[in-house]
């Protein structure tokens, strides 16, 4: 028993996977026949945008930061895509990503160069983007918004009816994330800056460059996640990604990345995103009143984080 516990301590990701398995098992026991290939395929489909947002969030949380503007950026990118699609898909796509880039640059300047606390900076830019999008939307009533077919396929399509298309994008991003974090100088620097910024400065590293790129990447990933989301809903509204803000932080934390930086990684975030998606699915299928669902959601995430803290203490 203690041996197993020690094994889990050493490989916390194993514990997470185990937990995920328990959740899936639980859902199948409670409602036999639920866990079908289609259900699994759906879970992956819906986990992907969350995990892509989580990828950006992982990048910034490794440096001890947080990005509260991801939801606004994702929504904004989706909305810009839909409202500009009439002028050409490529143009709309580029414009959507430019929004991500622009917000990333502003966040980067604030956090990296002017040393504003990330929470505050991104809270501010999130509000700015949200407000600006609302103003923008009032001029867009006649813009013939639609979601390009390519994006619809990305967000909702399935190969042979089972393999979600967004899984490929997610897999590519995941591979890139894992490689970057563990096998590149930039990845090393993210951990290093999160662990001790001063030490990096003394070691000759221009810290602001690392942080700057970090926040730009996060915002770009948020913009991409927005595209996947709008592909899945086939329509953009101005609260599209709001519900993803807290989960994007939660999946990183559940995945074992320290909110203070310097520790963690993307593998955990992947499992964290899956756990949250499965949890949402369980709650949908559970016949309990909405308030109880909310309470359960909060309580389960809290106990997960607590168990994790125990395990890694």
């Amino acid at each position: 028993m203690s041996k197993a516990l020690a094994l889990l301590r050493g490989h916390t990701i194993l514990a997470l996977v185990l937990l995920l398995a328990v959740f899936v098992l639980g859902i199948e026991i409670a409602r036999p026949g639920t866990v079908t290939p289609l259900w699994v395929s759906n879970a992956l489909l819906f986990a992907a945008p969350l995990a892509i947002l989580g990828a950006g969030q992982t990048l910034v949380m490794l440096t001890g930061g947080i990005d509260l503007s991801v939801a606004s950026v994702a929504t904004g990118s989706a909305y810009i895509l839909a409202t500009n699609a009439a002028s050409g898909d490529g143009f709309a796509l580029a414009l959507a990503l430019v929004l991500g880039l622009a917000v990333g640059i502003v966040n980067g300047l604030g956090v990296a160069v002017l040393r504003v606390q990330p929470l505050v900076m991104t809270l501010g830019t999130g509000l700015m983007v949200g407000g600006a999008m609302t103003v923008y939307s009032q001029y867009m009533l006649a813009s013939q918004p639609h979601v390009p077919a390519m994006i619809q396929t990305l967000g909702a399509g399935k190969l042979i009816g089972l393999i979600p298309v967004d899984l490929f994008l997610w897999a590519a991003i995941a591979a890139l994330m894992l490689f970057t974090l563990h096998r590149t100088g930039f990845g090393r620097l993210l951990y290093a800056v999160g662990d001790n910024r001063e030490a990096c400065h003394l070691a000759g590293i221009r810290v602001w460059r690392v942080l700057f790129l970090d926040y730009v990447l996060c915002a770009l990933l948020a913009a991409i996640a927005g595209l996947v989301l709008v592909g899945g809903t086939n329509a953009a509204d101005l609260s599209l990604a709001d519900v993803y803000l807290l989960p994007s932080v939660a999946c990183v934390i559940i995945g074992g990345t320290s909110i203070f930086g310097g520790r963690g990684g993307y593998a955990g975030t992947i499992v964290g995103a899956l756990i949250l998606t499965v949890l949402t699915s369980i709650l949908t299928l559970l016949d309990v009143p909405e308030p109880v669902k909310q309470i359960l959601y909060g309580a389960i995430i809290l106990s997960l984080a607590a168990a994790y803290a125990r395990l890694t203490a």
């Binding site: 604030g110 900076m121 501010g124 407000g131 309470i295 809290l302």
Partner: protein, 328 residues
Amino acid sequence: MSAANKMEASSAAHSLSRYLRATGMPLLFLASILATLAIHRDFGAFDVQSLALGALPLAMAATAQAIVVISGGIDLSVGSMIAVANVLSASLMQHASFRQSLGLAVLIILVGAVQGAINGTLIVLSRIPDIVVTLTTGFIWGGVALLILERPGGGAPSDFLEIGAGADLSPVLPNALLLLIVAVGVIWVPIRSSRLGLSLYATGSDPIAAFRSGVDPRLARILAYGLGGVFCGIGGVALTMTTGIGAPLAGAYYTLSSVAAVVIGGVSLNGGRGGVLGPVLAALLLTLLPMDLIFLNIDPNYGQVIQGTLIVLVVMIGGFAAFMQGRS
């Protein structure tokens, strides 16, 4: 760089930004009042009352958040706790007498204290970061509010509502403003200058040093969250007074707004520094902003943009001062 010298180097930037923090918010507020007077010449008692009514719940939320932040935490369940107090008061007071309502109000504020203390205890016991714990308890308290009152409703005796909505002393000194001053003055001011207050600041500044100085940082954190809960309770009851009803979702806007007010009010999220006056003035400012936009007939959604810009600008002033310091 040695600790000693780093301290010296940063202390100049510190004292500059401390100076800005201390005087910036009152000046900014004064300026915005003057601007409002310029925009809207017949700004009078009616508008003062609008300002006070609108700002009261947010000011309470900001006070709650400020106390928690000063002691080194952050509370993302502020909005949900306000909602609980709001629906609890509106459903309990609906058929109560005036005097019963007063008793119930005290009870509900105590419930807020307990909720806050639960937040704090969970943080202390689980050793999970504050953000994470309060994020999840935010869901939980939100669910509780919905359990108490599924849809907006309830009420309170009209003379009880009058405590918040009236203007008994003078038309230019609405009760809501008095309530704000009294709540902060009677609860926070004495605490702040007591050893308890010092221990909250100490815990936020350096918990180990605080422990070595005889403070129990765990207890201090629980107390800070509890005290935050008290102000959330007051905020929820105030919301009932100003709206006359309970609404399970009404608190949602106060969580991030309270963080915004705290930041604009010059309280460092690092803890240990700042006060409550700044955040309260910031709450008033954030209420004044949409007023001015309405008077100017500008799309109020620019208000959100301005609020975001204000947050970023306020913190950038400090960052910019440090940046220039680094250059020279």
